[in-house]
């Protein structure tokens, strides 16, 4: 061992270089292996995701006579699109906040429950997930209709004389959207709340903190990444909602996705692309803001 050291010490510079080269080669092989592992996914995304999105973006700039800003001008000139856009954003925002308010206590209870009870609660949360969104929206139509189950109960209880208009109102849209999107909020919240070390809570308790203080000073800050992840997912999904507002909404419940469908009905692909880009860029912007504020990695890491 000693002679070896002496020998290598003598020719130290070239040896170190060689080692570095070898190390680099191993590193490269390692990277290549990872690259090959993710290659199928990358190729899949390129063909089936990046390419369609890119061609959609291109379409919003290309008219009959080549490059044009005509479609974007149309967007700027028509205030109704902006109103629908802001309606859509407000709807998504409200849905997100309602989901958060409903999901947080449930996720918290799930994270503190025994594993059997947590499993049962999990199953109940996930069960509707396996049913088509169309069927679920339709189920709400049956419940909320003028001769539906709720109105039936209320009139039998003598609370109302005339059936209430529940269906085809913004209320129906909120109910159904929150219902559909709730699991997307519960899951990341549960995941984060579950990973909070219980000894921290015990420590806080031991130091004399009240339940309220424990929640606001320990649990809430530690669950921030889960809140952010849930909100981000629910908000972005809610932005693109089409079926639920179209089936259950009232006269004014028009969302941007419905306007896109209208344009496609008229084979106006370019303008549909402009509206779709609007949604896409808005979603990206929200994503970017969340990334800056919380950090996407923290949000989805465990």
């Amino acid at each position: 061992m000693v002679p070896a050291t002496q020998v290598t010490a003598g020719i130290s510079p070239p040896g170190a270089q060689e080692r570095r080269r070898l190390y680099r080669r191993i590193l490269f092989a390692e990277q290549l292996r990872y690259a090959l592992l993710v290659a199928p996914l990358i190729i899949y995304l390129l063909i089936f995701y990046i390419y369609p999105v890119a061609s959609m973006l291109v379409r919003s700039f290309i008219g009959d006579g080549g490059f044009t800003l005509e479609y974007f001008e149309r967007l700027l000139e028509t205030p109704v699109y902006w109103r629908v856009f802001s309606n859509t954003v407000l709807l998504a925002l409200a849905t997100t906040l309602i989901c958060l308010a409903l999901a947080y206590p449930l996720a918290y209870a799930m994270s503190r429950a025994s594993s059997t009870r947590a499993a049962i609660m999990f199953a109940l949360v996930l069960l509707p997930f396996w049913t088509s969104i169309l069927v679920r929206s339709y189920a709400w139509m049956v419940l909320l209709g003028r001769s539906g189950i709720f109105n039936d109960w209320l009139s039998r209880a003598g609370l109302i004389k005339e059936p209430l208009n529940l269906l085809y109102t913004p209320f129906a849209v909120y109910v159904a959207m929150v219902y559909v999107l709730l699991p997307f909020m519960i899951l990341p919240l549960y995941s984060v709340l579950r990973s909070i070390d219980p000894s921290l809570l015990r420590a806080a308790e031991g130091l004399g903190a009240s339940a309220r203080q424990i929640f606001f000073h320990v649990v809430a800050p530690l669950s921030k990444p889960g809140v952010a992840a849930g909100c981000l997912v629910v908000f972005i999904l809610a932005l693109g909602f089409y079926i639920t507002p179209a089936l259950m909404g009232g006269q004014r419940d028009v969302t941007l996705a419905m306007l896109i469908a209208q344009q496609l009905d008229m084979y106006e692909w370019n303008f549909a692309a402009v509206l779709a880009s609007m949604l896409l860029f808005f979603s990206l912007a929200v994503f970017f803001i969340f990334d800056k504020m919380i950090g996407i990695e923290r949000m989805f890491a465990r």
Binding site: M56, V80, V84, V142, R146, Q251, V254, D265
Partner: protein, 375 residues
């Protein structure tokens, strides 16, 4: 990204439509059975020599019970009598045709669409092969129902439908449909932005006193003023054809503007609903051939075959859609004939869809509708 998901979501709405049709399927079969007591479905025994051929033709329809009907009405006798094999598929969509032609990968030889769509796509480019008017039964098909690039077939009407248990004598026309004192209760009618063929503006101007033959060109401001009057009583401007039908069944509304074919199926199912044809909007589906279709020649023969009197009668026999070939009426049993929009006595009360007017004015009316609906 959004464009793509949006299509599939619209697909889902369409799916709901066909789900509605599937629910109504027993009614179709029952209607057929009842009709069978009085008459048999007409059979064709021979075709003109010019329609015979070989090879295949790839036909795409809209799916659902409509597809079942055209399979029985056209595909089977066509294969037997002409020697051309039909490869049928579902989900005809002009957006797909557009993409197929643009990418040179045309998978269909003939597809169901509408004159409005043909006209609109032709403004955007060269998406169609010509049909063969020499093969066509032009003696019995009205001239407005065919042109170089398309031939009309099944006719649909959007008409007044009402629950007869709520109103034994319902509104006879749109003036009465708009009358909320005589006919109180929520209504449903099509949205002003859904597709091309179902504009509530026609109903609106008729409700305001415009005679049927003067509906076009539509006085747009007058139509919206008329809609202002009824708006408070409209619980839903529907997006998919199945919606008004479901709302009638659920008693969500006693009054609707809905597709006559689906309403007839409700009647056959025993739901107490009645139709008033007056002022209804008459629109046809059309056959067209995508540019570059490999079997365009067979497609031309198929279109000619499918619009022959007996073919058309078979289709109306199986599903309560109208026919385009006037000579079909003599092959259809009287009880079925009375339920069809194109029967003598009904068709005179309808307003044919003026697709050229709509092509020109749709962007404007759509924008106006969107502004109006958000008010």
């Amino acid at each position: 990204m959004m464009g793509k998901t949006s299509i599939s979501r619209r697909g889902a709405l369409a799916l709901m439509g066909s789900a509605g049709m599937t629910l109504a399927m027993p009614a179709v079969l029952r209607g057929r059975a009842e009709a069978a007591e009085t008459a048999q479905m007409p059979e064709m025994t021979e075709v003109p020599e010019a329609l015979k051929g070989s090879g295949v033709v790839r036909v795409v329809g809209f799916g659902g019970t409509g597809q079942t009907a055209i399979r029985e009405a056209y595909f089977k006798p066509f294969e037997k009598l002409t020697g051309i094999k039909v490869i049928d598929s579902e989900g005809s969509d002009p957006n797909k045709v557009k993409a197929m032609v643009e990418t040179g990968n045309v998978e269909w030889d003939v597809f169901l669409t509408s004159m409005a769509t043909i006209s609109r796509l032709r403004d955007q480019g060269d998406y169609f092969e010509k049909v063969d008017l020499d093969l066509l039964d032009t003696a019995n098909i009205p001239t407005q129902n065919y042109q170089e690039y398309g031939v009309d077939t099944h006719a649909f009407a959007h008409v007044i439908a009402y629950r007869s248990d709520v109103f034994p004598e319902g509104p006879k026309n749109f003036i009465e449909f708009w009358d909320t004192t005589k006919f109180p209760g929520p209504r449903t009618m099509p949205t002003g932005t859904g597709g091309f063929a179902i504009p509530p503006l026609v109903a609106a101007v008729i409700a305001d006193g415009v005679p049927l033959d003067q509906v076009y060109p539509i006085d747009i401001p007058r139509a919206f003023k008329s809609l202002d009057r009824i708006r408070g009583s409209v619980s839903k401007f529907w997006e998919a054809e199945a919606m008004p039908i479901q709302m009638l069944v659920d008693k969500e509304v006693p009054l609707a503007i809905a597709g006559s074919g689906r309403v007839v199926q409700l009647q056959r199912d025993g739901v107490p609903v009645k139709i008033s044809w007056h002022g209804g909007n008459l629109v046809n589906n059309s056959w067209a051939i995508p540019k570059g279709a490999a079997n365009a020649e067979n497609a031309r023969k198929f279109i000619a075959f499918a619009t022959l009197p007996i073919s058309q009668a078979r289709q109306s026999f199986l599903i309560p859609n109208g026919f385009v070939n006037r000579a079909a009426a003599q092959y259809i049993p009287a009880n079925i004939l009375a339920e069809l929009p194109t029967s003598p006595g009904n068709i005179e009360q309808l307003v044919p869809f003026d697709y050229l007017w709509w092509k020109k004015n749709k962007p404007q009316t759509e924008r106006r509708w969107n502004e109006w609906i958000l008010q």
